[in-house]
Symmetry: C2
Subunit: 332 residues, 2 copies
Amino acid sequence: MSRDPDASLIVIDGLQYSNWDRPLFEELRAGGITAVHATIAYWENAAETLRTIAAWRRRFRQHGDLIRPALTGEDIRAAKRAGRTAIVLGFQNCTPIEGDPALVELFHGLGVRLMQLTYNHQTLLGGGCYEPVDSGLTRLGREVVAEMNRVGMIVDLSHSGERTTLEAIETSARPVVISHANPAWFHDVPRNKSDAVLKALAARGGLLGFSIYPLHIGGADRTRRQFCDMIRRTVDLMGIDHVGFGTDSVRGWPDEVLSWMRAGRQVGPDEGERPSWPRWPDWFATPADFPNLADGLAESGFDDAEIAKIMGGNWLRLFDQGFGPPAATDSP
Amino acid sequence: MSRDPDASLIVIDGLQYSNWDRPLFEELRAGGITAVHATIAYWENAAETLRTIAAWRRRFRQHGDLIRPALTGEDIRAAKRAGRTAIVLGFQNCTPIEGDPALVELFHGLGVRLMQLTYNHQTLLGGGCYEPVDSGLTRLGREVVAEMNRVGMIVDLSHSGERTTLEAIETSARPVVISHANPAWFHDVPRNKSDAVLKALAARGGLLGFSIYPLHIGGADRTRRQFCDMIRRTVDLMGIDHVGFGTDSVRGWPDEVLSWMRAGRQVGPDEGERPSWPRWPDWFATPADFPNLADGLAESGFDDAEIAKIMGGNWLRLFDQGFGPPAATDSP
């Protein structure tokens, strides 16, 4: 049922979090994926994050026939030409900078290209989407956004509260992203976003990555057609240049990691709920199913040029613009 | 002009932050001070705080003829009998626990007996008094307060925003303190407290330590009589059992430390204002002037029993109750 794959298509997944090993890199290649934004921190401090980056350096050496690091958009095009998948490193929380704006530049120098200001909870920078009260962007949050703008680290607001999200969109001098979420009207959970947020995001040049994480779409029984029709309607709101995918694919982790992701250090190992990873829809069981997404977009009425933008072209434009200091021609 | 000093008087200063050395310990003895709550962290992480505690262990060994550690209220009485000043260690911020409630118990085990949830800015636990928006007590903040209640570390709200302060007073199962601040009506700055906060604090068994830091009283020209009359009026609001001193005495630090205290890691060393330490009032130039405070209280109409409570008796009761797990007879 798959269309003839377009070998020239740039395919970018705006967020995955996996327990990476060679079979998972082969899965990326099977999906024809040009680049992946890979999460490397949820709750880690600076020193722990250095060790995680070091582990990625080893992976790049050991699996250079499958993957390579991406520090620029051009690195992604080069990976495409070489038949490799480019890996973009990013944080889903601000814990690695330990409240110090100066660490933004250092982690940028080590290859980190996106950072969420918050992960569900209150951080030093802003309010998470599961806090009872959203502080908005804090004083330190404004400094860190300015520093991310200066060095070229993209602000990601996927897990932020509404107020913090709107304030960060407005405050950032450069486009920001919501790398993995959906419109709240499609499935109304705190992680999904209001139309007000999505319109503001697009108006400032940003990008929404559509998530296929089952808890963001309403469960594994959602059809591909329902999902892609949702994209159609969201494009009507945001415009064709401001959407992509951020599947939130999670591969190879035991259930314990889900508890850790959600609570970090805040709940001891013997307390609280014991969540399990959810079942994924048949049409996107793993990243190897990425071609199904292009088929679904066609079925929902997108033409080839539109499909190219959603599959990766828009992400590539954002990365070209965002992964480095502002160009002299950028508006202030 | 000083009254005959009452040799049996327990004198407790609810907050000092100094660059401690032997002459400063001698100053405490000159002031007849039985115990001091000494700040050991503003922005330090866990490892840095361990080194600071280790430095205190060395001071206790080297200056055992002047000071000793206080882990309980009884340690303070024993120091009084031995002619030493007891040192209570505390944090003015939550950075040492690095977002991990489990570190509360560990630092308690190392002698830390009070912790502020916030220092001016947003923290993982709550909103600071200088943030534009006060998040209130966060989800993690509630967990940390419960853990502090469990192990016997007193919650200090001196630098918290109004909402966070009221929520923490309400949430804490055990009395909390505002170790160093004044009523906002006396000098209206964000660091001073509303009558609503002071009434709620007293209603839950807590304590306000009156600050003499010049920026909290309206400058060095405030008279002792004005200051002690303010105490008189505050006692009318809160009751005689819920007030003490927390002078916020700062000795021996260069001006650079003031910049660091205020901004932590959030402003680089070459940016921003260059504040200087303020001039102190003549009637409280150093902690050696503590007897002047007892004289001032008498002048403002307090009797000897009331003076004993304000000078240290109330703090000692709080410490007796608060420095350890709840007694079986405590209300839940």
